[in-house]
């Protein structure tokens, strides 16, 4: 009897191998309480900060008074985008730090399966980090982001997908340029924050910058969030824009990641990366 499964999956990724890598990173999370606390730390600190700002502004700003949850919703949803991207990049860099890529890629693991595992881990990390902060906001500020209802799911999925696209691109760049480029994982996402209209309507931006905002899925999500909170309507047009852009960006993110991976095989970087 054969010792191993000979399940050649052809073009398609193997769920078994994706699960193996998810398991590897779950072991890592499980073994360290501080790591789990760290996931929740910044989202919670941000939520508390913006919670108090909201308490102050609610009596000084008619805009905030109309929808008191707008800033807290914004900060939690922004963290979905940030944590989504960071989850992909950090989990990938964990493999580089531990000099494990050589072993991984002489196993039957495919780059696309690594990519799927990165996305799964990013989802888990985001749910722990932002989910924790969202739950703490309920007793602390009597604010529940879950009151957004089903639109929350649409916002979450779209922001996560955009975070994944940027995370895959950053991972590819770090693979190409080495760990010297790892700070990109922390700062890349902030380039899109001012144009995403996280805390203010896109109309606030100069006209030319509004065109740039229009090609970001995040700007459509945050506009959609304000439509729900202020006008109590769910803007399907904004959702469709975000979904279409995300399909393009996520495909491009995967393509770039695979291209950088192939480049690493040309340059021999898979054996020689690490701390």
């Amino acid at each position: 009897m054969s010792l191993i499964r000979r399940d050649h999956t052809g073009f398609f990724p193997s769920l078994r191998r994706i699960y193996a890598l998810v398991l590897r990173h779950t072991y890592l999370l499980r073994s360290s309480g501080p790591r789990i606390l760290e996931l929740m730390y910044w989202p919670t600190v941000q939520m508390i900060l913006w919670g108090f700002i909201t308490l102050f502004l609610i009596n000084h700003s008619s805009w905030i008074a109309q929808a008191s949850g707008v800033l807290l919703s914004a900060v939690l949803l922004w963290d979905v985008l940030f944590r989504g991207q960071l989850g992909v990049s950090l989990v990938f860099m964990e493999e580089m730090w531990s000099r494990n890529l050589g072993h991984l890629f002489v196993s039957p693991l495919r780059p696309s399966e690594l990519g799927c595992a990165l996305l799964t881990m990013s989802l888990i990390r985001t749910l722990i980090g932002v989910g924790g902060a969202a739950l703490i906001a309920i007793p602390l500020f009597h604010f529940s982001i879950f009151d957004l209802g089903l639109p929350l799911l649409a916002f979450f999925v779209n922001l996560l997908a955009m975070g994944w696209s940027i995370g895959l691109l950053v991972s590819g760049v770090v693979l190409r340029y080495g760990l010297g480029a790892e700070s990109l994982a922390w700062i890349a996402i902030f380039a899109v924050q001012p144009i995403s209209g996280v805390y203010y309507p896109i109309a606030t931006l100069p006209e030319w910058l509004q065109y740039v905002a229009a090609i970001l899925p995040s700007s459509h999500v945050f506009e959609g969030m304000r439509a729900v909170l202020f006008d109590h309507v769910f803007r399907l047009d904004l959702l469709l824009h975000a979904v279409l852009l995300n399909v393009v960006y996520l495909s491009a993110g995967f393509f770039m990641f695979l291209a950088f991976f192939k480049g690493a095989r040309v340059r021999g970087q898979l054996l020689h990366v690490g701390e």
Binding site: L3, R99, N100
Partner: protein
């Protein structure tokens, strides 16, 4: 179907203006232990990396078990495994967790059974629950071997398997590889510049210098060809481009 387990045909690898490997061709017979022997920078690790598909050659072709590694390596990877002191396992994971992850990646069917068998065979049972990063170099070597044996590979590739190990651990590794090959009939290809290792383990030696194959034979054939008593002297002759005739000439000059 090819009778060779590994077939390398006119493979070259250039990194910009640097030539790492140039026009290398060789094959590896089934159930043999073959050494890629050469000094630092001879092209051993580069050749091994190309065989594994971690590195793409600039030109040439590589097939393993008759399958083109450049086009279809995922069909072959479950049948081989690899170990190198230069590639680590995740340090914060325990030995058991590391081996479980790799067992899943390789599609091992009975993971607890396989881990139990390997822990007995390689005597790693006492540290299965310890983080890999906390192990000594010798213990890490045993774990790396366990990882390399998880899928009971038909082809094993080693990059300097005993580098930086104390003589006792190095001897253990060589004994282990010798016994494993005898028992399973696996094919082993190792890159090394350790001569005692090559003499003890290998029945075929491919000598590399400056990215080219410069000689090949069994250890006994090479000793005869170079008129030397051990492989270390053969290695130095080849590294310094000294041929037997040249050495005989030098000796005659000294006698005069």
């Amino acid at each position: 179907m090819s009778s060779s387990v590994v077939s390398v045909t006119r493979v070259s690898k250039h990194f910009d203006s640097v030539t790492a490997v140039e026009d290398v061709s060789f094959d590896v017979r089934p159930q043999s232990t073959t050494a890629l022997l050469g000094g630092n920078g001879a092209g051993k690790t580069t050749t091994l990396s190309m065989l594994l598909g971690l590195l793409l050659p600039t030109s040439g072709s590589i097939s393993v078990f008759g399958v083109d590694m450049l086009r279809d390596r995922y069909r072959v990877l479950p049948r081989l495994n690899f170990s190198s002191p230069y590639v680590d396992l995740p340090r914060r994971l325990t030995v058991r967790e590391n081996l479980t992850v790799y067992a899943r990646l390789y599609g091992v069917i009975d993971i607890p059974g396989r881990l139990k068998a390997l822990s007995e065979e390689l005597q790693i049972g006492s540290f299965m629950k310890r983080p890999y990063g906390q192990l000594s170099a010798g213990e890490k070597t045993r774990v790396a071997l366990a990882k390399a044996l998880l899928n009971e590979p038909e082809l094993m590739l080693f990059d300097e398997p005993t580098a930086s190990l104390d003589p006792d651990t190095a001897d253990y590794v060589r004994g282990m590889l010798e016994a494993y090959r005898k028992r399973t009939g696996t094919t082993i290809l190792l890159a090394s510049h350790n001569m005692s290792e090559v003499e003890r383990l290998c029945d075929d030696v491919i000598m590399l210098r400056a990215g080219r194959v410069v000689d090949r034979g069994t250890p006994a054939q090479l000793l005869t060809r170079y008129g030397r008593r051990n492989m270390e002297e053969v290695f130095i002759d080849i590294a310094r481009e000294r041929k037997l005739e040249m050495r005989l000439g030098e000796q005659q000059v000294v006698k005069k």
